[in-house]
Symmetry: C2
Subunit: 231 residues, 2 copies
DNA sequence: CTATTTTAGTGAACACTGTTCACTTTTCGA
DNA sequence: TCGAAAAGTGAACAGTGTTCACTAAAATAG
């Protein structure tokens, strides 16, 4: 059971990991520049001087390999947002930074981000996921990222800048949707930010602009004395 | 030049169009249920009892065929939103309906909507699109859909419910991003709407909830007498 | 009505793709 | 050192989109 390598790994597995990393690195390169369709097992194998079948000793399928690329990207995304979320700036700045950092990280690797949200689940998968508990969800990277948003909303409510009537989970979902949408719109339709007749506005500035609008949507309602019929 | 069929088409082209429609109909079926990867030229040809090469007498490539499917879906999306936008309801209801209808139509055909925004443009394509004028843009279906939003914002500003300081084009972009994001989030991550610990809320209701938040983000700022440092 | 040209449609082939599997070679532990 | 386990390979299978020389049928011209 025990070996001569109590903490270090045995040279065999170190070599193996090295090959595995080489595969992932090459795959990362190809995927980042050419996307999912540009990443072929055969070209990948050629790139690292192995036979195509060798890849299958390290990854069960192309999909499994891709899953690993996406997951590592999502962890990176989470880290980034977590970083700015932890920085002790002014609340408004921090909230805005969460959105802008999210969008910036997403658009920096468009293929990764798009691929991370590319699969349309089948009805069967949907039935499985339907039985996921809240605790299981926030254990995943996506869940953790989501938790950051929930906490942000609650903090905003505690500070009195966000409407206390909002359910934090739903508000967080709204923020995520808005950020997600802007990131994908910039990735898939980069026409829009440029076609506008106000050329003074760059893409990056619009992200902050959008983030401010999103945050404004969660602010405390405008007129307290007025009779407010809706909701 | 002139034929016996001044308004009607000649039987030859009518027959041809019939085959073309049959191809599109079969493609539509396969694509709607199995997505882009499930739509193969060969299976499609088999379905309509033609040889694979016959397809290429009607469509230059698989991509061209897909493009037509996506375009027709986008026109449908535009029609739907245009419909509710033209209905003379209360402004708030109408604005909310624009978002909810958009999201509902998108999620009703998840593969179509996801595919319509799936291509990551290459740097070359990006350079080409960068020289599109505003007029050219709003001539396209996407541009027209966008125009609806711009008009909506301007109307809201005229009614005094939206912040007059907003640039309508940018505000419209913000609305689109938020709607787009919610639609794709519901398509790709249907976990979220269900994992929330408030089971009284159904998906459809959340769309309206989100729409309200989005609209609130464009409303006139809260405190006029207060000193407002930011922006 | 015939001759010619245009069009519709096909089958075989090309160059790919992911994946499997029997097989050899190398490596490692006892 | 020997046997077992692991690493790696080549060939093959079943797909894919696409092309192209070719036939059969229809439309057109004389």
């Amino acid at each position: 059971m025990d070996s001569d390598y109590p903490l270090e790994q045995t040279p065999a597995v170190r070599r193996r990991n090295k090959v595995r990393e080489a595969i992932l690195a090459a795959a990362e390169r190809m995927f980042a520049s050419e996307g999912e369709s540009g990443l072929s097992i055969r070209r990948l194998a050629e790139e690292i001087d192995y036979s195509p079948s060798a890849i299958y000793k390290y990854f069960g399928s192309k999909e499994e390999l891709l899953e690993e690329l996406k997951d590592s990207f999502f962890e990176r995304l989470l880290d980034r947002v977590d970083g700015v979320s932890a920085a002790n700036k002014d609340f408004h700045d921090r909230a805005r930074a969460c959105v802008t950092t999210y969008v910036a990280t997403a658009t920096a690797r468009p293929h990764h981000y798009a691929a991370a949200f590319s699969s349309v689940p089948t009805p069967e998968e949907l039935a499985v996921r339907r039985h996921l508990s809240w605790d299981d969800f926030i254990a995943t990277p996506k869940g953790q990222a989501f938790k950051i948003l929930v906490d942000l909303v609650e903090e905003g409510q505690a500070l009195g800048v966000f409407d206390p009537a909002l359910e934090p989970v739903k508000a967080a979902k709204s923020i995520w949707a808005s950020s997600h949408g802007l990131a994908l719109l910039m990735i898939h339709m980069p026409i829009l930010p440029d076609v506008q007749p106000c050329p003074t506005q760059t893409d990056g500035d619009f992200v902050a602009y959008h983030a401010d609008i999103v945050m404004r949507g969660l602010a405390v309602p405008a007129e307290p004395p007025h009779k407010n019929g809706t909701r």
